[in-house]
Amino acid sequence: MEPVTMAKAINLSLRDALAGDDDVLVFGEDVGTLGGVFRITDGLQKAFGSDRVFDTPLAESAIIGICIGLALRGFKPVPEIQFDGFIYPAFDQIVSHVAKYRNRTGVSMPITIRVPFGGRIGAVEHHSESPEAYFTHTAGLKVVAPSTPGDAYALLQSAIADPDPVIFFEPKARYYLKEEIDTAKEVPIGQARVARGGSGVTVIAYGPTVSIALDAAKAAEKENISLEVIDLRSLSPLDMPTILASLQKTHRAVVVHEAPVFGGFGGEIVARIADDGFDLLEAPIARIGGMDTPYPPARYEKLYLPDVDRILEAADLALAYG
């Protein structure tokens, strides 16, 4: 297969899901005729008709709210929320119903909510947010964030097939990352991957920060520092065995995400390591992420976002500790 972008890989995954199961529906703002503002749903309405791939009115709460009725009827809704910063009107439907309906009724809710997330695209306000921690904090949801085209394809297949609701965060700044993909490869929800083997410091990343971590590992290599990069892929559930296996080798960790560090998902990772792997540690765990501010105007986003230098600096400190 020719190398494909992550955008194309997600498109292919949606196409295969729609073709494989008549109960899969794709809908949201501009996903039909236009094919989505990022063209992720390009051509799907033409291929599957406007009863299966359709534009909705501009109303996020109803886009998610109708999923409950559709799922009760046996559909597998795959709604798109156009941007991370527009998910908040749907927050009540996600937290009060999508996450809790099965607990209330015993009826499964196979809903996959796709959300482009993260910054680094030079956008105006509300288009660059990382709201994942709001959802990892909510029982009943599964939360995933792929970082490569192949994983995006496979993880979306797993999410749509999963009988439980999944929030599927797509790193929009990586939509145009290209690689060859193997559509037969399975990526179960809840499995991290070692994106690059190493022995000195474990860098734990997901979504848009994985490629930054890999760049940092390449740069570190030149200084004879070996970084192991873990791509979590799944935030909830969290694959602690993969993290702990890495710490068995490195005894040091750096956690990287774009979301603000305070109250961010990195805190959960660090706390879990402290619970289950305290004796493995030889240095404090660094958290690298956004500052405790709203996402800044685009001109300043490079100063706000994690970069190679911040990862290297944290890795150096971890290695020099004690």
């Binding site: 009863d51 709460s61 799922a71 009540d92 809790k100 607990n103 009724t105 439980d164």
Partner: protein
């Protein structure tokens, strides 16, 4: 989907049944086609759900229930609505539609376990086509529209009834759902139970305009009717459902009624409403009103009224006994059992730890 949404008015099957004041016309009442047995059954059901409501209130005061939200005064809507629909038509209630659930065949003792703190949703909605009671106001309305859209996508001939109170019409979800229903011509009947109070806030402070007339803005008709007349409710819902069933889209019925009791057992209505207000509505109480009509028509006599009361007392006593002997599910299952269909390992470990901690205590 139609390119242009048409407001159906000329062929509105509901409006001709009602006077401009929202009363069911004598002609319409005469052509409902209900047998004497069916007409008596509507009365029987209203008495049964009211008596169960009173019993639940008593049980709450006795400490058997944590909370209770009485629906006294709204029985005509509960009974008339269910009687108007097919058993396969879905109903999406808010939290006060306990009587509707009873009319759908759900065991009231089973439903009461919700208020006894044993479950968040004691019945399988698919068995009764009756969605769970939903507490965040108006948030259930888009669920109903999704179900109705699904009916259209599957070319089903079922319709969906979405019910809510006057307070719900202030919420964004209500607007979003009404708008979706209009755009997708979803086969859904919106039934506003305008009971004039959202806890302590009266209708005049809730909304400055007409609820029924808002339907026009969403591209479908709406009507305000007398919600304390069981036959009016039945006629309106039946006609609106038939219209939706044949593909003509949504309808909004604003049924005027009155919440005769408190919002819930935690509420004290004497702080915000007068006795005279309540007295004005007492004379419109749907149960005596309908009983007098049945008596006037010679459809019910003292002996059958007494028989109904006896049957209801027996049923309520049985409900009380079933509730008190309802099994208390094991904590591990009650807390963890239904969260996921495919629970993550870490979730199962937490359950295991919790259950072990119970055993060791």
């Amino acid at each position: 989907m139609a390119d242009v949404v048409r407001v159906v008015a000329a062929d509105d099957p509901v409006r001709p049944l009602f006077s401009p004041a929202g009363e069911l016309t004598a002609d319409a009442r005469g052509t409902l086609g209900l047998s004497p047995h069916e007409l008596r059954d509507l009365y029987h059901k209203m008495v049964w759900i009211r008596r169960t409501d009173q019993e639940a209130l008593n049980l709450q005061r006795q400490g058997e229930l944590g909370l209770w939200g009485p629906y006294q005064g709204q029985e005509a809507i509960h009974v008339g609505t269910v009687a108007a629909l097919r058993p396969t038509d879905w109903i999406f209630p808010s939290y006060r539609e306990f009587g509707m659930g009873m009319c759908r065949g759900i065991d009231p003792a089973e439903m009461l376990t919700l208020f006894r703190g044993l479950s968040h949703g004691p019945w399988d909605p698919r068995r009764y086509h009756f969605a769970p009671l939903v507490i965040p106001v108006a948030s259930q309305v888009p669920h109903a529209v999704g179900m109705a859209m699904g009916s259209r996508f599957k070319h089903g001939d079922d319709v969906v009834l979405s019910t809510f109170g006057d307070g719900a019409t202030s919420k964004g979800d209500w607007h979003e759902a009404m708008n979706f229903a209009g755009v997708f011509r979803a086969p859904v009947v919106f039934l506003c139970q305008n009971n004039r109070w959202a806890i302590s806030v009266p209708l005049a402070k809730q909304t400055a305009g007409s609820i029924a007339e808002r339907a026009q803005g969403y591209g479908f008709p709406g009507i305000r009717i007398d919600g304390n007349d069981v036959l009016a409710v039945l006629a309106a819902v039946r006609a609106a459902a038939a219209r939706a069933r044949q593909g003509d889209g949504p309808y909004l019925i604003e049924a005027m009624t009155y919440r005769m009791g408190p919002h819930t057992t935690s509420d004290d209505p004497t702080r915000y409403r007068s006795e005279t207000d309540l007295e004005r509505w007492n004379v419109k109480d749907p149960i005596p009103r309908y009983r007098e009509w049945l008596q006037g028509q010679g459809l019910i006599d003292e002996a059958s009224l007494a028989a109904i009361n006896r049957e209801v007392e027996t049923a309520v006593e049985a409900t009380r006994n079933r509730l008190k002997s309802a099994p208390v599910p094991a904590a591990g299952e009650a807390i963890f059992g239904r969260v996921y269909q495919h629970p993550p390992d870490s979730f199962l470990e937490e359950r295991q730890e919790f259950e072990s901690s119970l055993e060791s205590n």
